[in-house]
């Protein structure tokens, strides 16, 4: 029975809870047990909140016993990437800088999930301060890909996707600045949505790049993803970059029909460096969508190759500004051997931050400094306009755009960590989306040598609905999401 429960989606579990076939406490215990069994292999969690989880589950059981109706996410065990503040629960960004930081408030997304009755299993490992594409930049330990423990889960939401792929959580929240939900979702065979910029509150999300960051759901299937979006999305007065918009019920778009829908496939996303086997999986997915009635054709987005260099100037620039607050004064790590304040700042930041974080702070500081601001940062922001215009023009003709999520399947631990540029190139298909602020989803599209491959769908601003419709149709007609990694064979009972 436990194995069945573990594999189920939130949608399926809600029915079991509402029908009293399983209690919230039993469900939470099953997931906590799974975490205990697998964590020495997967290492997705930084903090497991067992007591909090059981207390929350007990509250849901009281409600059910009283005969009250429960919400769709009520009693559903989930986990949060460790860059989302949780009141009273350690939040580290997988950094030494915040190793012992306990936030005195909840991020809005955490609060909304809590109010919806979801059960918090714990906080998930990530690349430090969300900077990375493999989860190898965590200051604590690397998370492993449940499909092949010698490989990376992707990053920076590596712990979040690994936990869902390994059924250690029913769903998770990740964050995406240049692909950090979508790329790991592709590597681990789960569904990951980066919503339109401004749809989901960033209040309490520890900032990396303020004009690019978005929180989004990571789930076992498309329905769950829409269910979670319903809870976390929507204007928040505490986030001045949050947009007041007419929030729909996203589950209404879960319709198995894409006849006549126009899909563009930008040829520049099948760039050199793309693994041919991965390209083949995507081409087969395109054929499937054609068979399902979509009108698909190749198109061009001429500024695509400029997105990466623009991103690697804009994101580090914004990061250098956001991470200036970590100075050892009010919270977080403080170096102990300093004689004066300047020494304290310099040592605290040198010791508190890891290599990639320091590299990006340096790059960003340089790009913004006097004499270089115009040549680098301002130039990149102008190129950003051109990239956004490419999307605006494409969406005059097409309803959604399609591409691979990543140029290869998951690579081995250590394979790309020697050269930062090589690592950055794994984001080539995802970064343009953040620059334009549009929504995009990655969903399982097949396998290469047993490793998942993700299909990316990109949509117009605020048109997550069409993305969900295409994703749901594809999923229901292929069933890749039902294939699970063979973890228990590698884990001793």
């Amino acid at each position: 029975m436990t194995m069945d429960i573990i594999a189920k989606s939130a949608g399926e579990l809600h029915v079991l809870l509402a029908d009293k076939e399983i209690s919230a406490t039993e469900l939470t215990k099953a997931y906590l047990g799974r975490i205990q069994k697998l964590e020495n292999k997967v290492q997705a969690f930084v903090t497991v909140t067992e007591d909090v989880a059981l207390a929350q589950a007990a509250e849901v059981d009281v409600k059910i016993a009283r005969g009250e109706k429960i919400g769709l996410l009520e009693g559903i065990p989930m986990a949060l990437k460790d860059n989302m503040c949780t009141n009273g629960v350690r939040t580290t960004c997988s950094s030494k800088m915040l190793e012992n930081f306990v936030p005195p408030y909840d991020a809005t997304v955490a609060e909304r999930l809590r109010q919806a009755g979801a059960v918090l299993l714990g906080k998930l490992n990530m690349d430090e301060f969300a900077m990375g594409s493999s989860n190898e930049n965590s200051r604590f330990f690397p998370t492993r890909n449940p499909w092949d423990l010698e490989r990376v889960p992707g990053g920076s939401s590596g712990g979040a996707v690994a936990s869902v792929a390994a059924d250690e959580a029913v769903f998770a929240l990740g964050s995406d600045t240049g692909g950090s939900i979508r790329q790991p979702a592709a590597f681990c065979g789960v569904v990951g949505m980066k919503p339109t910029y401004g749809t989901v509150s960033r209040y309490g999300l520890i900032a990396f790049a303020s004009s690019l960051d978005q929180v989004g759901p990571i789930t076992k299937d498309v329905r769950d993803n829409a269910m979670v979006m319903n809870i976390i999305a929507g204007h928040d007065a505490k986030d001045s970059t949050s947009v007041p918009y007419d929030k729909p019920d996203y589950t209404q778009f879960l319709v198995n029909d894409i006849k006549g829908l126009k899909i563009g496939v930008p040829r520049e996303y099948f760039a050199k460096g793309m693994d041919p086997a991965t390209a083949k999986v995507i081409e087969e997915a395109i054929e499937t969508l054609k068979d399902l009635g979509a009108e698909i054709e190749e198109c061009s987005m001429p500024h695509t190759e400029y997105a990466m260099p623009a991103y690697y100037l804009i994101a580090p620039a914004e990061c250098s500004s956001n991470l200036a607050r970590y100075d050892g004064v009010r919270y977080g790590y403080r170096a102990t051997e300093a004689e004066d304040i300047l020494g304290m700042f310099k040592k605290t930041r040198a010791e508190g931050f890891g290599t990639e974080v320091k590299r990006r702070i340096m790059l960003g500081t340089y790009a913004l400094s006097s004499g270089y601001y115009d040549a680098y940062y301002l130039k990149a922001q102008k190129v950003r306009t051109l990239i956004k215009q490419d999307f605006d023009q494409a969406f005059e003709k097409y309803d959604v755009l399609l591409s691979p999520t990543a140029p290869t399947p998951a690579f081995k631990l250590g394979e790309k960590s020697a050269d930062p540029l090589t690592m950055y190139l794994s984001d080539v298909c995802t970064v343009p989306v953040n620059l334009a602020g549009i929504p995009a989803i990655s969903l399982p599209a097949g396998f290469v040598n047993g490793l998942p491959v993700g299909l990316q769908l990109m949509g117009k601003h605020f048109d997550e609905g069409t993305l969900y419709r295409v994703a749901y149709t594809f999923e229901q007609n292929t069933g890749f999401h039902k294939v699970k990694p063979n973890l228990t064979a590698e884990v001793s009972a």
Binding site: T196, S211, P309, A324, R334, M344, K346, M362, A375, T385
Partner: protein
């Protein structure tokens, strides 16, 4: 068009000071090389004529999002100080400044 110069060791030391980062000798050498490569890669942006292009600072059109100036309670002092490395009399205590 502005000519982009790649980064030198002196630049790296200056930037480290601005960013309040103490770097080891090894790190200075490493970062100089790596940042130089990244900036070299970014030179490709110069192929584009952006003379008449307006920069995008924000992906969605929002301007001056303000609220009415109403006084509301803020975070309690004990909570503010709870994560502090060193506290004295309700102050954050730090090494000498002057």
């Amino acid at each position: 068009m502005v000519k982009i110069l790649n980064i030198s060791r002196g630049d790296v030391e200056q930037v480290a000071l601005l960013a309040r980062l103490e770097l080891t000798e090894q790190e200075i050498v490493l970062y100089t090389g790596q940042l130089d490569s990244i900036l070299e890669y970014a030179e490709v942006l110069n192929r584009l004529d952006t003379e008449n292009v307006v920069p995008t600072a924000h992906a969605v059109p929002l301007h001056n999002v303000l609220r009415d100036d109403q006084v509301k309670p803020s975070l309690a002092q004990e909570k503010v100080l709870a994560n502090a490395p060193e506290v004295e009399d309700g102050f954050f205590r730090v090494p000498k400044i002057v």
